[in-house]
């Protein structure tokens, strides 16, 4: 019997082998992990984050032992640092490929909407409902990381927006530090800009994310928002039009300075030159914005709660944040959840986070904590910052997200900018953004 092997059959066999080779990882990925769940003893938690501040926090938590005292786990940490967008992309790629996902993942707030659709959050992350139940009403900032009202992430920072202002400039030009409303401050700001070319706030005119974030920060304070708790669009509101009109007028009169973004070189120049003497930004702007760009202005800056809009709204606003989520169905899931609970849901953990990275507590009662209330900030001239944050937290708006958040940012940036530049009315800009959003979100 001759067994001649032809070229075609060899190529077929090769193709089959190739496909089998390719299918192997995919099939492996479909199978359930064979490793047994760790329920006690030594455990190495794999954590992915974009911010060294979180690495420092978790390292301190694990090394200090005070936070992990009494735990059935002996923690070791393994950190992977990557850009915020890459973390989500790589985590999902790993989940599809072979399941080598992190145990704990830090997600920037604007990245979370990527996992809100197609049941990605439900499939990847542990439902934290039971974990947060004991803190009912006392735990802040769960809403941006909830899908169908189920929380999947715990925020590291309350990201409370306050008014930063140059006390020396306010003194020099006799601007009261306790101006009650935005309208009043705008009148003062218009005069100040006319006479001295100094602005008392900024709006972003660069990328869509910065433009819309600056708008949303004011809008949340005014009592509006982009989405409601069920993910429905709530932008079509009188508050949205009012806020955009306020911002456009501010740009026109010079009360608000138009800058590409609040962190770049142009903003640094505005701060250094003294032409920007006040701005609304969250607590983290102290370190990442002011201290990074104008260290020489130490002790000149102060914070206060935001002036109110005369039409109503809140005393504070919020912008930004990073939540940590626990990956489900992994050997270390239970250990990671326990670590997250200890670092994020205990008084000691929240104090540690503030000390290691300046992250504001998310547990509301802690704003009355004597130790925190006594903290002073050297850069802010020794100001007792928790006096301000405490008042702000008492009236903080809730920020909801939806899977279409990124689409909204993309389509709203252009119209908002047009309104800020006076090319279109605020009402038309909001309408135009909503129209484009509804068209694109259908896909």
């Amino acid at each position: 019997m001759t067994s001649e092997v032809g070229r075609r059959s060899v190529l077929r066999a090769g193709a089959g082998a190739g496909l089998a080779l390719l299918a192997a990882p995919a099939l492996a990925g479909c199978g359930s992990g064979s490793a047994r769940a760790v329920t006690e003893g030594p455990v190495q938690i794999s954590m992915w984050t974009h911010d060294p501040g979180y690495i420092k926090t978790f390292q301190s938590a694990v090394r200090g032992k005070a936070l992990t005292k009494g735990s059935q786990f002996d923690y070791r940490m393994r950190f992977t640092t990557a850009a915020g967008t890459d973390i989500v992309t790589r985590m999902m790629a790993q989940a599809v490929a072979d399941g080598d996902t992190p145990d704990l993942v830090g997600m920037i707030i604007d990245q979370f909407p990527r996992v809100m659709g197609a049941r990605i959050a439900q499939n990847l992350f542990v439902d934290l409902s039971e974990t947060v139940r004991p803190f009912d009403g006392r735990l802040l900032k769960l809403a941006p990381y909830s899908v169908d009202r189920i929380p999947y992430g715990l925020d590291s920072d309350n990201s409370v927006s306050v008014l930063y202002y140059r006390q020396d400039v306010f003194d020099r030009y006799r601007i009261p530090e306790d101006v009650d409303t935005w309208q009043e401050l705008a009148r003062i700001g218009e005069r100040l800009h006319e006479q001295h070319r100094i602005s008392l706030g900024m709006v972003a005119t660069g990328d869509n994310g910065s433009i819309v974030n600056a708008f949303l920060q004011f809008l949340l304070q005014r009592g509006g928002g982009a989405f409601d708790a069920s993910g429905g669009l709530t932008l079509d509101s009188p508050e949205a039009v009012e806020v955009l009109e306020f911002m456009a007028r501010g740009v026109r009169t010079g009360f608000l300075m138009a800058l590409p973004d609040p962190y770049g070189s142009a903003c640094a120049a505005a701060l250094k030159s003294g032409r920007l003497a006040a701005t609304v930004m969250p607590n983290w702007y102290n370190v990442y914005g002011l201290q990074a760009n104008v260290p020489e202005q130490k002790e000149k800056w102060r914070i206060r709660t935001l002036p109110r809009f005369s039409g109503g709204g809140h005393e504070a606003s919020t912008l930004g944040g990073t939540a940590f989520c626990v990956l489900k169905d992994k050997p270390n899931t239970q250990a990671a959840l326990e670590l997250l609970r200890r670092v994020y849901l205990t008084r000691e953990g929240q104090l540690l986070r503030y000390r290691s990275g300046g992250f504001l507590p998310t547990l509301k009662p802690l704003y009355e904590d004597a130790e925190l209330r006594g903290i002073t900030d050297d850069y802010l001239g020794g100001q007792r910052v928790f006096d301000v944050y405490g008042r702000a937290v008492a009236d903080l708006p809730i920020f909801y997200q939806a899977p279409g958040m990124q689409i909204l940012i993309d389509v709203l940036g252009g119209p908002v900018l047009s309104a800020l530049q006076g090319k279109t009315s605020a009402a038309e800009a909001i309408k135009s953004g909503i129209r484009a959003y509804r068209q694109q979100v259908k896909r």
């Binding site: 660069g206 869509n208 505005a270 047009s418 530049q421």
Partner: protein, 322 residues
């Protein structure tokens, strides 16, 4: 001739003498029976495996994905050609196509000629500091994108920027909103493209110029040709292969432009500087519309392939010069 001594008969080479064969053919191992036929395939298999794994598979997976709706997790849902149909009616996609076309046209019509002229200047006899010029022109390619973002963000800023300050000092006006005004934002991106790539392309032209025989210039000068005539009648024809290569490369690369608009404006203000690759990135990695992004990728591939082929035929790339 040694052939008759060293070469075995053809049939012997095919079947091969087997000095020690255990048992009958049926008892021999499968590998022993087929090794002569299989050996060549085994030797070339690494290439085909890698080729299949890293080139063919991604292409076909991309094609498949373009006909699905997939958020990155779970099973993709087959939607046929719906993504393509949606793309054709997507205003953002067409904006990105228009912007990319502008970048391509600008690069071909401004950057390539500028690179040629700079190369011509650098090739001049007796030029001092030639290496310094080369280094300076090449430097933008190797500078970190972070530095580029910071520096150009400041250069183009409306209130604190170098451009506006210079305009104000020279002409008394300088209120151009380079990054905030859609039309000026596009201009800013093409200025960045000009700054970043002209020097790089100059290197190619300079290499080509150094291979143009001096005798041709001398002969043209003897015939009474001036510098301009020599450039048109000697330099350009001699550089035709290099120019064609540069033009095709630039066309294909600029059609996939991502860095410059992403670094400077992130596609904004609005979508005024959004390129097709940024559109794909946004759909895939910001909105989790991976099927939609794949469809846009397929369309971009088709467009680049067709344009590249056309340009190669028109410019005669790969054809031997007669």
């Amino acid at each position: 001739m040694t052939d008759s001594v060293t070469t075995r008969p053809r049939h012997a080479a095919r079947t091969g003498p087997a000095p020690r064969r255990p048992g009958t053919p049926a008892e021999r191992s499968w590998w022993n029976r087929h090794q002569r036929t299989l050996a060549p395939y085994v030797f070339i298999s690494p290439f085909y495996l890698l080729y299949g794994l890293f080139l063919l598979v991604p292409v076909f997976v991309g094609l498949y994905l373009s006909c699905t709706q997939w958020a990155g997790l779970g099973a993709p849902r087959w939607v046929g050609l719906r993504n393509y149909r949606d793309l054709l009616t997507d205003h953002s996609f067409w904006t990105s196509v228009q912007n990319t076309t502008l970048y391509v046209v600008f690069t071909l019509c401004v950057v390539v000629p500028a690179a040629l002229l700079i190369a011509q200047a650098l090739n001049a006899r007796g030029l001092r500091g030639r290496d310094l010029f080369r280094l300076t022109y090449f430097m933008p390619v190797v500078i970190s994108p972070i530095v580029i973002t910071l520096v150009f963000g400041l250069i183009f800023d409306r209130q604190f920027g170098l451009f506006n300050a210079t305009l104000h000092a020279l002409f008394g006006f300088g209120g151009v909103d380079w990054l905030g005004e859609p039309a000026w934002a596009r201009v800013s991106v093409v200025i960045l493209v000009l700054w970043r790539w002209t020097g790089y392309l100059t290197i190619f032209f300079l290499a080509g110029l150094q291979n143009v025989p001096r005798e041709l210039y001398e002969a043209a000068a003897l015939d009474g040709a001036g510098p301009v005539r020599r450039f048109w009648d000697v330099t350009l024809p001699a550089l035709r292969p290099v120019t064609a290569f540069v033009a095709v490369t630039v066309l294909v690369n600029t059609a996939q432009i991502f860095d410059e608009p992403f670094l400077l404006t992130q596609g904004g203000p609005g979508e005024s500087t959004l390129s097709v690759t940024m559109f794909i990135f946004r759909a895939g990695f910001q909105r989790q519309q991976l099927g939609y992004a794949a469809a846009a990728g397929v369309l971009l591939f088709v467009a680049v392939f067709v344009l590249g082929q056309l340009a190669m035929r028109v410019l005669g790339v790969g054809r031997s010069s007669r």
